[in-house]
């Protein structure tokens, strides 16, 4: 049975919460009313990447996206568009930046500068349908690799594409495959690292949930190239939807003999199994991940030997990240030269970033390497909300650092970000404005590493803890200038002597905030003052004479420290104040300010 039209209902988490289920039901009721429920397919897709808009319904093949809120709007869409082929202009989603209703979805300003390779199918196909994946050239790359290329040729193509590992390190993928291929062994393994854990990064989740088959296909291609017959996907148990869709995808692929024995009539066989991660960030490190699959504590091992020589159960193993794998089928189909036309010379292709923090349009974006940070933040991201000023962009999560405003025009690729003292990482990009305290941010990341350190090596286990203690001291106003020196010494020691990447990069947030925001550290130490008003012990509030007497601050104060009458300037009793900042947030005119200690007692 073929339908003449398809309605895509966004099944992303954001939309799901906006009661997309109810919308789906209502659509069905309306279709039944018009007796056309058999002509129209309703499909729940993964996120469209326009989360800000929410509850989005796409009509295909017309490629029209509607934003609906009420039942009457659904009635209108069904009656006009589906019944009579008239597009309901007034319900089309608006471009969040241009504030206009656009005809073509791809003309959306948000998508203009993007180039979707990794996310090519996300939001377009039904992730539960292998047929839809095949219809979008799915498994053609595997067929092409098996039928037209030798394993050496496949590796040569990947090498020529200059694809680099998207998990953060940026190691050339083709080279990694070649090492695994050259290791002599009758048994080899392919492992997909889907233990995405970097705070603020969720591109792997999007691919696993939106396009699970692309990963299976890429893993099979990798298996063919290096001579492996067994693959494992190590996915976090915290991503239950991804786990479910992967399980389904593996089953469907097996049923069509796209996984299993003698694929495409060749003598190549490949199987994939899932392994669940159980809440340990360090398992994203490849040797720790391998230990975890083997059934041990997820602790890293000393390299070399690299997994390519001795990995899972001592056999040569190739570990790649989800996003890296997602690039593979396209590279095989379109060729390395095509891939090289995208991106920069040393970093080809695209990178998916998760925009988050203080930015108008949050969500996943995929941009060609070489796009500037300014374009990302202000053009695609729409800038900083509430007319605040940008302070820094944090990339690379707890392993990365901060990039400040003057460096915003740097084109993004693996090497430029490292030069700026940060790193690509897995692609989290968190924008911070003037209300974020950089000492606090560094303290926050250190708290994360302290907790996630597996404890195997001393520099990471003890060093991160000591650094965290010092940062705590500083944010409480008890720090000294010596502490800052200690912090720097410790940071470089931990970076140089830790066993794995987690410890080696853990000091980065400290080092980069110290480099760019030393004055903030000094303000905390010398003046006992937190310029951003975040560190509680160092924040004093004052109500200045621009107060309009709206009483909002007094109503919101949980301890009754603010006194004042309507239309009169309010007063704040600092002896009662618990420095929660509720008043500052409530003030509509910005009359409540933070000041250095001592001046605040009004």
């Amino acid at each position: 049975m073929f339908e003449r039209m398809q309605l895509l209902v966004c099944g992303g988490e954001s939309c799901e919460q906006k009661q997309i289920g109810a919308i789906k039901d209502a659509l069905l009721v309306e279709l039944k009313k018009h007796d056309c429920e058999n002509e129209i397919a309703i499909t729940q897709s993964s996120c469209f990447g326009l989360c800000e808009k929410g509850a989005i319904v796409g009509v295909f093949p017309d490629e029209v996206y509607y934003q609906c809120k009420t039942k009457s709007e659904i009635v209108m869409i069904v009656e006009k568009h589906i019944k009579n082929n008239q597009i309901v202009e007034e319900l089309r989603i608006k471009d969040p930046i241009l504030h206009k209703r656009l005809k073509e979805h791809s003309n959306f300003h948000v998508f203009n500068k993007q180039n979707r390779i990794v996310l090519r199918n996300c939001g377009i196909i039904n992730p539960l349908s292998i047929e839809e994946y095949i219809a979008r050239d799915g498994y053609f790359a595997l067929a092409k690799a098996l039928k037209e290329y030798t394993s050496e040729e496949v590796i040569e193509i990947v090498k020529k594409s200059k694809l680099r590992g998207r998990g953060g390190g940026g190691f050339p993928t083709g080279l990694k495959w070649e090492y695994a291929k050259n290791s002599q062994s009758d048994i080899k393994y392919v492992v997909c690292n889907a233990d995405e854990g970097d705070p603020g990064a969720f591109m792997d989740r999007a691919v696993l949930e939106g396009d699970p088959h692309s990963i299976l296909e890429a893993m099979a291609i990798c298996g063919y190239a290096i001579g492996a017959q067994q693959g494992y996907i190590y996915v976090r148990a915290e991503y239950p939807v991804a786990v479910e869709r992967l399980e389904r995808a593996i089953e469907d692929a097996k049923n069509l003999n796209l996984l299993g024995d003698n694929l495409f009539g060749t003598d190549f066989s490949f199987e994939i199994e899932l392994r669940l991660g159980s809440g340990a960030f360090v398992c994203g490190e490849e040797t720790a991940l391998i230990a975890s699959i083997e059934g041990f504590r997820g602790m890293p091992k000393l390299k070399p030997p690299f997994p390519a020589e001795s990995g899972l159960w001592g056999k040569p193993t190739n570990v790649n990240n989800v996003e890296t794998f997602a690039n593979i089928p396209v590279i095989i189909l379109k060729g390395a030269d095509w891939f090289n036309t995208i991106g920069t010379e040393k970093s080809s292709g695209t990178k998916v970033f998760a925009l988050g923090g203080k930015i108008k349009n949050t969500g996943l974006i995929e941009i060609p390497m070489g796009t500037t940070l300014r374009d990302v933040v202000f053009d695609i991201g729409g800038g900083i909300p509430n007319r605040k000023k940008i302070k820094a962009i944090q990339t690379g999560g707890p392993s990365g650092g901060c990039i400040i405003e003057k460096d915003l025009d740097t084109p993004i690729d693996f090497d430029t970000l490292t030069d700026l003292g940060s790193m690509m990482g897995s692609g989290g990009m968190i924008v911070m404005d003037e209300d974020n305290c950089m000492v606090d941010v560094a303290r926050f990341y250190l708290e994360f590493t302290v907790e996630e350190s597996c404890g195997k090596c001393t520099p990471c286990r003890e060093g991160t803890k000591r650094m965290y203690d010092i940062l705590n001291k500083i944010s409480e106003g008890k720090g000294t200038l010596e502490d800052i020196d200690h912090l720097e010494v410790l940071a470089s020691m931990v970076a140089e002597t830790s066993l794995c990447g987690l410890g080696q990069t853990a000091p980065n947030p400290v080092l980069s905030t110290l480099k760019h925001f030393r004055d903030e550290y000094l303000a905390h130490v010398n003046d006992h003052y937190c310029p951003a008003g975040v560190c509680r012990e160092l924040t004093n509030y004052i109500i200045d004479d621009t107060c309009v007497g709206c009483t909002k601050c007094a109503t919101n104060c949980p301890v009754g420290a603010i006194i004042g009458w309507p239309k009169a300037i309010h007063k704040l009793d600092m002896s009662l104040c618990i420095r929660c900042g509720a008043c500052k947030q409530a003030c509509p005119v910005g009359s409540i300010k933070t000041v250095k200690g001592g001046e605040a007692h009004v």
Partner: protein, 153 residues
């Protein structure tokens, strides 16, 4: 389902350990692995009990102490932190009258913190029994908790 049935689903080799632990944890209403179960697992897989404990205590999703029927995990990572205007963790602590790491007296909820759960675009977020709840507000949390209480009653 009995523990022994869970065990039999998996091949008796060490690589199944984590999967078995996760499944037993999910199966039980009080979400933990008891001493007896550790012994059963170690016998079935042919590994030492100390090894089972070493793995069991390494991963944050697993517990050796009984927990509540529903496990609430509040994301404590930076995007949620930066976008958290009202302190989700404190709000939950207040509403449930307990602190992180504890189980409510009626045995319904255990409150935990978790590393990033990949819902950063809709921060702040939390998981209840691995089901994500995002764009949290005070009212929303109240409604969510109420819905879990209702189902149980």
């Amino acid at each position: 389902m009995q523990i022994i049935d869970v065990l039999k689903k998996y091949p008796a080799s060490q690589t199944s350990l984590l999967e078995i632990l996760l499944e037993i944890d999910r199966l039980k209403d009080n979400h933990y692995i008891s001493k007896e179960e550790v012994h059963m697992i170690s016998e079935y897989l042919g590994v030492r009990t100390s090894h089972v404990y070493s793995v069991l205590t390494f991963y944050t999703l697993l517990s050796t102490e009984p927990r509540g029927k529903h496990i609430i995990q509040v994301c404590k990572d930076i995007p949620c932190y930066v976008n958290d205007a009202f302190d989700v963790r404190k709000t939950l602590e207040k509403m449930l009258n307990m602190s992180v790491g504890q189980t409510s007296r009626d045995g319904l909820f255990t409150l935990e913190e978790t590393a990033c759960i990949g819902c950063c675009d809709e921060a702040p977020a939390m998981l209840i029994d691995l089901e994500p709840y995002t764009n949290l507000t005070r009212d929303k949390i109240e409604r969510i908790l109420a819905s879990y209480r209702e189902v149980t009653l």
